[in-house]
C-alpha cells in the first residue's frame, strides 16, 4: 500500500467542540461507506479550517471565506466525489456570507458543515457574526443561519446540531451526507461547537437549545412552519436545533450538468466527437 499522509492529532485545545464535529463527519463518511479516496473534505481558515487534516480523505485548505465556491467547483467537476465543505462561523458567515446565500440558491450536491462557536478562534477571540453580544455593537443580534437558509427558496436541507449531543449530531450528519450523495442538493449542517479558550458557551448553549424535532407536530418539509418555529424560539432567546428543514428542489448538478460524468479526465473514446465539435466551432469563424 502506498503510504499517504499521517492523520495525526488535531491541533485544537482540549475540550474544543471541533473534535466532536470532526468525529461526526468521520462517522457519516464511515456510515455511508465512502472510501477515503472518494471523499474530498475542503475547509476554510480558522481552527475549524484544520478539520481536513485529521480525517484521511483528500483534503483542501481553502482561502478564508471561499470554501463553498471551491466545493461547488469540485462537486461539478467530479460528481463521483463525496464533497464535504467545512468552515467556521467567521469563515462561513462573515467573509463567506455572500457565497452562502448563493450556494443555498444553487443547491449543489455537497455537505456543508459550519462549526459555530460565536468567535474567531484562530485569530484569538474576536466576535463572530453569531456572537450573542458583540463587542462592537452591543445589541446587534446574532445571525441565525437557519433562518437565513430558510429564506432562500432553493435550500433543501437545513439542520443544526450541538457537539454535546453526539447521537443527534451523528444522525444529522449522516442524513446530510446522504442528501448530498443522493444528488438532492446541499445539506447545510451548522454545529454549535464551543470554543473553550475564547468563548466558552457550553453552559449557556446547553440551557438555550431546543430540539424542534421533539415536537411530533413539527414538519421539517414545511418551510413556513420551520421559519415560524425557529423565529419564535430565537425571539425567546432559545436556539433551535435538529432537522430544521428538509425539502426538495432540483440540484445544481441536475440543472447544469448534461451528464453526471467527471470532466477531470478527458475521455479518449470521445476524442473524435470532440474534434468534430471543435471543427464546427472553428467553422463558425471561418471566412
Amino acid at each position: 500500500m502506498t503510504k499517504t499522509y499521517d492523520t495525526g492529532h488535531p491541533i485544537w485545545c482540549a475540550g474544543c467542540g471541533h473534535f466532536g464535529v470532526k468525529g461526526a463527519i468521520q462517522h457519516a463518511l464511515d456510515d455511508a461507506g465512502v472510501p477515503m479516496h472518494e471523499a474530498f473534505v475542503l475547509a476554510g481558515i480558522g481552527c475549524s479550517g484544520t478539520v481536513q487534516n485529521n480525517i484521511g480523505a483528500y483534503g483542501f485548505h481553502a482561502m478564508h471565506g471561499r470554501v463553498l465556491p471551491n466545493a461547488i467547483g469540485a462537486s461539478l467537476a467530479n460528481p463521483d466525489l463525496t464533497v464535504v465543505a467545512a468552515a467556521g462561523d467567521g469563515d462561513g458567515y462573515a467573509i463567506g456570507a455572500g457565497h452562502l446565500v448563493h450556494a443555498l440558491k444553487r443547491n449543489p450536491n455537497l455537505l456543508y458543515v459550519v462549526m459555530n462557536n460565536g468567535v474567531y478562534g484562530l485569530t484569538k477571540g474576536q466576535d463572530s457574526p453569531t456572537k450573542e453580544v458583540p463587542l462592537a455593537a452591543p445589541e446587534e443580534d446574532p445571525l441565525d443561519a437557519m433562518l437565513l437558509g430558510l429564506s432562500i427558496r432553493s435550500s433543501t436541507f437545513l439542520a443544526r446540531g450541538i457537539t454535546t449531543r453526539s447521537t443527534q449530531l451523528n444522525e444529522l450528519m449522516v442524513m446530510g451526507l446522504e442528501h448530498a450523495r443522493q444528488g438532492k442538493g446541499m445539506a447545510f449542517v451548522e454545529v454549535l461547537s464551543p470554543c473553550v479558550t475564547y468563548h466558552d458557551t457550553y453552559p449557556e448553549w446547553m440551557n438555550k437549545i431546543h430540539d424542534v424535532n421533539a415536537d411530533p407536530g413539527y414538519r421539517a418539509e414545511d418551510r413556513g412552519m420551520a421559519f415560524a418555529t425557529a423565529l419564535e424560539l430565537v425571539e425567546q432567546d432559545r436556539i433551535p436545533i435538529g432537522l430544521i428543514y428538509h425539502g426538495k428542489h432540483p440540484s445544481l448538478q441536475d440543472e447544469i450538468l448534461r451528464e453526471l460524468v467527471p470532466i477531470n479526465a478527458l475521455s479518449e473514446e470521445k476524442a473524435a466527437e470532440t474534434r468534430a465539435h471543435m471543427d464546427n466551432v472553428l467553422a463558425a469563424y471561418t471566412v
Binding site: H37, I72, G73, A77, N78, G98, K270
Partner: protein, 602 residues
C-alpha cells in the same frame, strides 16, 4: 466649402464615379449607442471578407446602454493590419457629434454620409475637399417600425454602392447576417436596403458605378475572422479546457459567452458566479479535481482575484486566467483598451509565488497561447495568465487556426496505477524540476492535503525554516523548468539598426506600419515584441543591451512595461518610453510622429 450632395439636388460629380481603386480603406460609422453603427460595419466587413480582404474591425463605445457616442470602424487591406488607417475614408454619421469626433481624422477626399433629418451639418467640420452626402435616415426611418434595423439596412444599401459592391452581393450579405430573423422580420430590411440603393440611384451612384473600387482578391485559403477573446477561449476549449466560471465585466464577458455556447456540447461546465471571488474559487475547486479550469475578467475583477491567484501559486493549483485589460485605474473607462495591468499581473499578490504571464500579439496567438496556457497550467501547476489588450474585443482576419497543432498534455498527473507503484505519495514532493507528481481526489490510495499555508511534502502545515526554504525553492524551480518552453519574443525589422522598438500585444501591427513609413524618413529600426511578460525573458534584456536606444511603446501612463524591463536588468539609460493613455488606440501616424519627435531631439 466641401461638396454637398443635396437630398434632391445636383447629382454627384460623375468624375468621382470613376471608382478610386483601393487596397486600404478605413471606414467609420458612428452615432448614439443603439443607432446600429456596429451592424453597418459588420455588414460591410462581411462583404469585404467575401472579396478576400483582410479586415480589422474595432469600436469605440461608451459604457452605457443607449445614448452615449458609439463608433464602429473597419479597415480593409490586402496585407493584415491591426490598427486603423490614419485617415477615415468613409464616414457614416448619425449625428453631428459623430462628425465632430471624426473631424480631425477625415481623409481629404473622404465621403461623409450624414443623417440630415435633424438639420444641416455646421460648417468647418469636414475637409473642403470631402464629399458630403446628406441622407435623412431618421426621417426615412419613421416610416418603418424597426427603426434601427431600418437605418442599418438603408445605410448598408447606400454604402454598397459607394464601395462598388454588386446589389446581389449586398443582399446576400444582409440575408446571411440576419439569418436568424423570420421572414416577416427580415422583409423590412430588404425594403430598407432597396431604399438605400434607390437613394444612391437618385444621387447618380448607379449599380455599375461607385466612388471606390475594391476588386475581388480572388480565391484564398480559408481564414479565421475572430476577436482575441473568442480565439483565446477557443484555444482553451481545444486544449481540453472544460470548466469556466466568470462574472460579467466589460470587455471580458465575451469569453464566457463563447464558452457558454460552445463548451457544454463537449461536457464543459460554464458558470456565472455571484462575483469574481466566487468565479475564480469555483474554478479552483474544479481545478483541484484535475479539470482544466479558467476564469476571465478585466482590471477591477482581476484585482479582486489576486488573493486567489496567489493561492493557486502557493498551493500549486493549475489555473488559466484571462485579463481583458481595459483603461484603469479603478472602474476607469470600461470600454477603452489599455495595457496598464502589466504591473498587477506580473508582480501582484502578497509574497512571492510562481506564475506565468503571456501577451499574445494577434488573434492567432490568442488561440495558440490559449491552448498553450491550458497545458502549461497543468505542467507547471501554477496560474498562467493571458494579458489581452484591445485585441480582446477587436476582430481580425488571421490564417486559419490549425486544430491539429493542439495537443493535450497533463503534465505529471498520476493515475491509480502509477500511485500503486509508489511506496509513498506526497503531494508536495520536493523534486529537481520543482514539479510534484499530482494525484487528484478520486485516485485510490493517494490521499493528500492541499493548502495555501506553508507546508511539508505531505501537505501538512509547517513553518520549519528548512522546510519553508525548500518549498519556496521548489516552487521557484518550476518556473526555471518551464522557462525554455515559454514563447520568445518576436523580432523583426532591421537587425543592424542601433535603434530598437519594443511593444507588446496588439501594438505589433501599428509598430510595423510605423516602421515601414519611417523607412522613408531614412530611419530603420529593429523591433521586438515580448510574448512572455513574466518571467521577463533574457532575450528582452539582451535586446535592450544590444541597441543604442530602445523605444518602449505602450498604453500605460506610467510606462509599466518599461518598468518591468528595467527591473529585469535592462539598462535604464537606453530606454525611452512612448506612452499613450487617452483610451484610444495608437495610429501609425501618431506613433511615427512620437518616434520622430524623440529621434530629432536625440
Amino acid at each position: 466649402m466641401s461638396q454637398v450632395l443635396h437630398e434632391i439636388g445636383p447629382m454627384i460629380d460623375p468624375q468621382l464615379l470613376q471608382g478610386r481603386e483601393r487596397d486600404d480603406l478605413t471606414m467609420m460609422v458612428a452615432g448614439q449607442g443603439g443607432d446600429g453603427s456596429l451592424t453597418i460595419i459588420a455588414l460591410v466587413s462581411r462583404a469585404l471578407l467575401g472579396r478576400g480582404y483582410e479586415i480589422y474591425r474595432t469600436s469605440n463605445i461608451a459604457s452605457r446602454i443607449k445614448g452615449g457616442h458609439a463608433a464602429a470602424f473597419m479597415r480593409a487591406t490586402t496585407t493584415p493590419r491591426s490598427s486603423l488607417g490614419d485617415r477615415i475614408d468613409i464616414l457614416v454619421a448619425f449625428d453631428i457629434e459623430a462628425v465632430q469626433k471624426a473631424s480631425g481624422r477625415l481623409a481629404a477626399d473622404s465621403i461623409i454620409i450624414f443623417d440630415s433629418s435633424r438639420g444641416a451639418l455646421p460648417p468647418n467640420l469636414i475637409p473642403d475637399t470631402a464629399l458630403l452626402i446628406p441622407v435623412p435616415f431618421s426621417r426615412l426611418a419613421v416610416r418603418d417600425l424597426r427603426r434601427d434595423l431600418f437605418k442599418n439596412s438603408l445605410g448598408f444599401g447606400l454604402m454598397g454602392r459607394i464601395i462598388g459592391l454588386s446589389d446581389e452581393e449586398v443582399e446576400d450579405c444582409l440575408r446571411r447576417h440576419f439569418k436568424k430573423l423570420s421572414k416577416e422580420q427580415f422583409e423590412p430590411n430588404i425594403r430598407a436596403l432597396r431604399e438605400g440603393q434607390s437613394f444612391a440611384d437618385g444621387a447618380g451612384i448607379g449599380a455599375e458605378q461607385s466612388v471606390y473600387r475594391l476588386p475581388d482578391q480572388g480565391p484564398r485559403e480559408a481564414r479565421t475572422f475572430i476577436t482575441g477573446n473568442h480565439a483565446a477561449a477557443m484555444g482553451f476549449l481545444a486544449a481540453g479546457g472544460r470548466f469556466f466560471a466568470g462574472y460579467p465585466i466589460t470587455p471580458a464577458t465575451d469569453v464566457m459567452n463563447f464558452l457558454a455556447r460552445f463548451a457544454p456540447p463537449v461536457g464543459g461546465v460554464i458558470m456565472q458566479a455571484e462575483d469574481e471571488l466566487a468565479a475564480i474559487n469555483l474554478a479552483i475547486g474544479a481545478a483541484l479535481t484535475g479539470v482544466r479550469a479558467m476564469t476571465a475578467s478585466s482590471g477591477p475583477g482581476i484585482a479582486l482575484m489576486l488573493e486567489s491567484i496567489g493561492h493557486c501559486g502557493s498551493a500549486e493549483i493549475p489555473m488559466v486566467i484571462i485579463d481583458c485589460q481595459r483603461a484603469g485605474p479603478s472602474t476607469g473607462m470600461p470600454t477603452k483598451p489599455e495595457q496598464s495591468d502589466v504591473n498587477m499581473l506580473t508582480r501582484s499578490g502578497n509574497g512571492d509565488y510562481p506564475r506565468i504571464v503571456l501577451a499574445p500579439g494577434n488573434v492567432e496567438e490568442c488561440f495558440y497561447h490559449g491552448a498553450f496556457a491550458t497545458n502549461l497550467s497543468q505542467q507547471a501547476q501554477c496560474p498562467v495568465i493571458l494579458a489581452l489588450d484591445a485585441l480582446c474585443h477587436d476582430s481580425f482576419t488571421a490564417p486559419h487556426f490549425d486544430l491539429d497543432r493542439i495537443q493535450i498534455d497533463n503534465g505529471k498527473r498520476l493515475s491509480a496505477d502509477d500511485v500503486a507503484k509508489l511506496d509513498a505519495y506526497r503531494r508536495y514532493e520536493i523534486t529537481e524540476d520543482g514539479i510534484s507528481p499530482w494525484a487528484v481526489p478520486g485516485t485510490p490510495g493517494a490521499m493528500n492535503l492541499v493548502t495555501g499555508n506553508e507546508r511539508n511534502e505531505w501537505g501538512r502545515v509547517s513553518t520549519e525554516p528548512a522546510v519553508r526554504v525548500a518549498m519556496m525553492d521548489k516552487r521557484s524551480r518550476k518556473i526555471a523548468t518551464v522557462r525554455p518552453s515559454l514563447p520568445r519574443a518576436h523580432e523583426w525589422g532591421d537587425t543592424d539598426s542601433p535603434i530598437g522598438i519594443i511593444g507588446v500585444g496588439i501594438l505589433e501591427g501599428v509598430i510595423t506600419e510605423s516602421v515601414a513609413r519611417l523607412t522613408s524618413e531614412g530611419l530603420s529600426f529593429h523591433c521586438h515584441r515580448p510574448r512572455t511578460l513574466w518571467p521577463v525573458l533574457e532575450d528582452t534584456v539582451a535586446f535592450v543591451k544590444s541597441h543604442e536606444r530602445v523605444y518602449i511603446v505602450e498604453q500605460s501612463e506610467s510606462g509599466q512595461l518599461a518598468d518591468l524591463i528595467r527591473s529585469a536588468g535592462a539598462p535604464a539609460e537606453r530606454i525611452r518610453s512612448i506612452l499613450k493613455y487617452d483610451g484610444l488606440q495608437y495610429t501609425a501616424e501618431e506613433l511615427v510622429a512620437a518616434i520622430l519627435a524623440q529621434e530629432r531631439a536625440a
